[in-house]
């Protein structure tokens, strides 16, 4: 993004970067940047907090008025949603033997969140959640990739499937009371659900593959750093 800022500025367009990794801003030195002390993935900070988001965006855009070249300013408030919310409750579901059954148990939570937010972030695989859950159950059982979309490989389909399944679980978790931190939701997803444990197991299986692309999938593209074992 900081490199893009340089190139747009060369074309005569003013730019501001809202940056999350300060050392990158210091190295690439975009013309104007606001460093925000937030988690990767949320440049405007807390979700459902339009007032703080507005503060971030407005402070960033006001940098177009500065004459200092380059400008790097720190945003001085932390994300209040980093703090654990003790009111939050994870979806109350029993243990299941398949991801399909787990998804079925989560469905009322997911549907409630969809209605509440009038949107869902599930959809990149372009296949229903039940089909995706069955796909991942089958991959886990048979230990081989399965092609269910003719335009993409089984390996890519698997990656899209787990992204959609994670989105489904995250939205189910958001249906609970309170305002959970991302850590609360991810701890539940990766440590308390069948999907989480199977993803961690599949990661290890893939990392032992003779196929470099499958090893790469296991190493980088299934489990986030914090929940790798």
């Amino acid at each position: 993004m900081s490199a893009i800022a340089h190139w747009l500025e060369q074309a005569g367009i003013s730019t501001v970067v809202i940056g999350l990794v300060k050392s990158h801003l210091e190295k690439i030195r975009p013309p104007r940047a606001l460093w925000v002390p937030f988690e990767l993935g949320r440049p405007l900070g807390p979700p459902s907090d339009p007032q703080m988001q507005r503060e971030v965006l407005e402070q960033a855009l006001r940098l177009v008025e500065t004459t200092n070249k380059p400008t790097l300013v720190d945003f001085d408030s932390d994300d209040p949603r980093f703090i654990e919310d003790t009111q939050w409750q994870a979806p109350d579901i029993e243990e299941h033997q398949s991801i399909l059954d787990e998804c079925t148990a989560l469905k009322p939570y997911y549907q409630r969140e969809c209605v509440d937010k009038s949107r869902t972030t599930v959809g990149i695989a372009k296949v229903s959640i039940n089909e995706l859950a069955t796909l991942v159950d089958d991959i886990y059982r048979k230990d081989e990739f399965i092609v269910i979309r003719s335009d993409i490989s089984g390996r890519l389909m698997f990656r899209l499937a787990i992204d959609d399944l994670k989105a489904y679980y995250i939205e189910s978790a958001l249906a609970g009371p309170g305002n959970p931190s991302s850590l609360q939701i991810h701890n539940w997803l990766w440590k308390k659900t069948l999907l989480g444990s199977r993803m961690r197991e599949l990661r290890h299986r893939f990392m032992k593959s003779d196929d470099a692309k499958i090893r790469d999938l296991g190493i980088k593209f299934i489990v986030p750093h914090l929940w790798r074992d």
């Binding site: 074309a11 990794v21 339009p50 988001q53 507005r54 855009l61 990149i124 958001l174």
Partner: protein
């Protein structure tokens, strides 16, 4: 209770509150580099950052004369469009009028938070906040179109398409861009 006692009590409560807050933040792992998972920190610190020789700097302009477009690196896609390749150097275009429910995230990385995007798209792509600023005349106007790249792509592979984007922005009479990495 005397004023001095009240003052001492207030000070104790304040110190306790601050201690709790700092403790909670530390335990939850703040997103600054020194508080990330060591492996993730190592990846970010070792990323090869480009050196840009020509550091152009457009002269300052008042915020209320800014016509603003958003450019995200979140690998966003429209629900019915093709998937975004993990190495794509192209950008996707998002009409300001498209509903939030039609915008999905198709980024290849698993190492950033997606719970916030799931809850509120504005943490990543703040079209609604920008629209509010335009309505209040804090900025001159918001762009009719906003844009997203795949942030995992090496910056040097993006330059040609950034130049094409710049032409598109100039044609649309946009003079300011807010860049939003994830």
């Amino acid at each position: 209770m005397s004023l001095i006692n009240l003052w001492i009590l207030t000070a104790i409560v304040t110190v306790y509150w601050l201690t709790q807050k700092i403790s909670a933040i530390t335990e939850n792992g703040m997103a600054r580099l020194d508080q990330m998972a060591p492996a993730q920190r190592e990846v970010l610190e070792s990323l090869d950052c480009p050196t840009i020789a020509d550091t152009a700097f457009v002269p300052p302009r008042p915020l209320n004369q800014c016509r603003v477009a958003l450019v995200s690196s979140a690998g966003l896609m429209k629900r019915k469009d093709d998937n975004v390749s993990g190495s794509s150097s192209d950008y996707r275009v998002f009409e300001n009028s498209w509903p939030e429910r039609d915008i999905l995230m198709n980024h290849i990385s698993v190492n950033f938070d997606r719970t916030a995007f799931a809850e509120d798209i504005n943490v990543v792509f703040p079209r609604a906040i920008l629209k509010e600023m335009a309505e209040q005349e804090v900025i001159e106007r918001t762009a009719a179109k906003h844009y997203a790249f795949m942030g995992a792509t090496a910056p040097d592979k993006l330059q040609e398409n950034v130049e094409r984007l710049a032409s598109e922005l100039i044609d649309a009479n946009i003079n300011t861009v807010c860049l939003l990495p994830v």
